[in-house]
């Protein structure tokens, strides 16, 4: 898969947050959660802008002719408008072929794997050949002035991935799941039709989300390995949704994943929701080409997803 990223120019450092909240021991907390910087979308910068930029960078970086794109998938939970789909705006911005379809997926932390599964399905079903999969979110616009915890965790970012037939062949079996009972453990109150009188504000019960990941993720990993009919020894790398270092370290110990196979890479970006996994694939110093990689997303929904990619990038 060919991947590019776009990160907004403005950076919010731990020092910036300390100045906003002098009573808050951010240095101690950031050491635990492993984040030192986050990129913040400008006031007049939205998901369609960031997604468009990520795709333009992808086309330039790999010399891709945009006219080969026959389907656009956007994963976002911070759309420009309630309707139409924000992918319609990106489709127009990029001047994609008029016969290329587009769809938005409203998933967060599990969204990249959802996007890959839809891309694989469209290719394997003969519907499309070259799919542009974009992830983009501006969660920071949902964070209230007083909410120091979420300011510490979330950053904005976007990724663009070209998924072709070879990539679809390399994508193995998927696992998905949902537990809607945990909707209010992580949600945006206001901004849509329910509670429409309220300004949108993100509400997160961090400990409950953490509890959910401990309950669900070990089984998810076991099941996806089983479904792909391989042994854990054959997996070269595990790339989980980069929620925060504390949570990932706990999961790594619990699932007994060796340090050298488990990637934690979020220090410079924070939790960018559906973009964390492609950001690791794009940004890491590790050469993933030809490797067997397990991807797992989990979080808002509550929702989870996993897949194993063989011969990555070949």
């Amino acid at each position: 898969m060919k991947i590019a990223r776009y990160l907004p120019k403005e950076i919010r450092t731990n020092q910036d947050i300390a100045e906003m909240h002098p009573e808050y021991s951010i240095e101690k907390i950031s050491k635990k959660i492993g984040i030192s910087k986050r990129h913040i979308a400008a006031v007049d910068e939205f998901v369609s802008d960031m997604g468009t930029s990520a795709a333009e960078i992808l086309f330039g970086k790999f010399n891709i002719d945009k006219n080969i794109i026959d389907f656009l998938i956007l994963v976002t939970q911070s759309p420009d408008y309630l309707l139409p789909a924000t992918s319609s705006i990106i489709h127009a911005n990029l001047e994609l072929p008029i016969d290329a379809g587009n769809i938005d997926i409203n998933q967060g932390c599990s969204g990249y794997v959802y996007g890959l599964s839809l891309a694989k399905g469209l290719i394997k079903g003969g519907v499309a050949k070259n799919i542009l999969l974009i992830t983009a979110d501006t969660y920071t616009k949902y964070i209230s002035e007083e909410d120091k915890s979420n300011k510490t965790i979330f950053g904005d970012g976007a990724s663009a991935t070209l998924v072709t037939k070879n990539d679809a062949d390399n994508l193995g079996e998927f696992i998905f799941g949902a537990d809607g009972k945990g909707v209010k453990d992580l949600y945006v109150r206001g901004g849509a039709l329910r509670d429409s009188g309220l300004s949108p504000e993100i509400i997160m019960n961090g400990p409950n989300v953490f509890n959910f990941t401990i309950r669900v993720v070990p089984k998810l990993i076991e099941n996806v390995i089983k479904k792909n009919n391989i042994s854990s020894d054959e997996i070269d790398y595990y790339i989980f949704h980069q929620a925060n270092m504390f949570m990932l370290s706990h999961l790594k110990r619990k699932i007994k994943i060796p340090d050298n196979k488990f990637i934690i890479e979020m220090k410079e970006f924070g939790n960018t929701v559906s973009s964390t996994i492609p950001l690791v694939l794009e940004n890491s110093d590790i050469d993933f080409i030809g490797k067997t990689i397990l991807l797992a997303g989990f979080g808002v929904g509550l929702s989870w997803s996993a897949v194993i990619i063989k011969n990555y990038g070949l």
């Binding site: 021991s25 101690k28 907390i29 635990k32 915890s149 019960n205 961090g206 400990p207 409950n208 953490f210 509890n211 401990i214 309950r215 504390f246 706990h250 110990r253 619990k254």
Partner: protein, 81 residues
């Protein structure tokens, strides 16, 4: 019998130390009759760390809501002993 009392005492001391270790501020003592949510410095990050510790050390997976509803550390200790 004496041995059992000592063992229980040591387990409880260890439990209290494990709870205390999750707090940033260490210049205080934790008592078995303390209510977790009333200990100074208790916040969502501490809750998250206590949930993690209880799961790793005692194989007890507790929800944040249940953790906050525990009347005292003693009632929490009963769950793991």
């Amino acid at each position: 019998m004496v041995l059992n009392i000592n063992t229980n005492y040591n387990n409880m001391e260890k439990f209290l130390k494990n709870i205390k270790d999750q707090f940033e501020e260490q210049e205080f003592s934790v008592q078995i009759d303390d209510k977790l949510t009333e200990i100074e410095g208790y916040d969502s990050m501490t809750a998250l760390m206590i949930i993690s510790m209880l799961e790793e050390e005692y194989n007890l997976l507790i929800s944040a809501d249940d953790l906050n509803e525990e009347t005292t550390l003693k009632s929490l200790y009963k769950k793991i002993s």
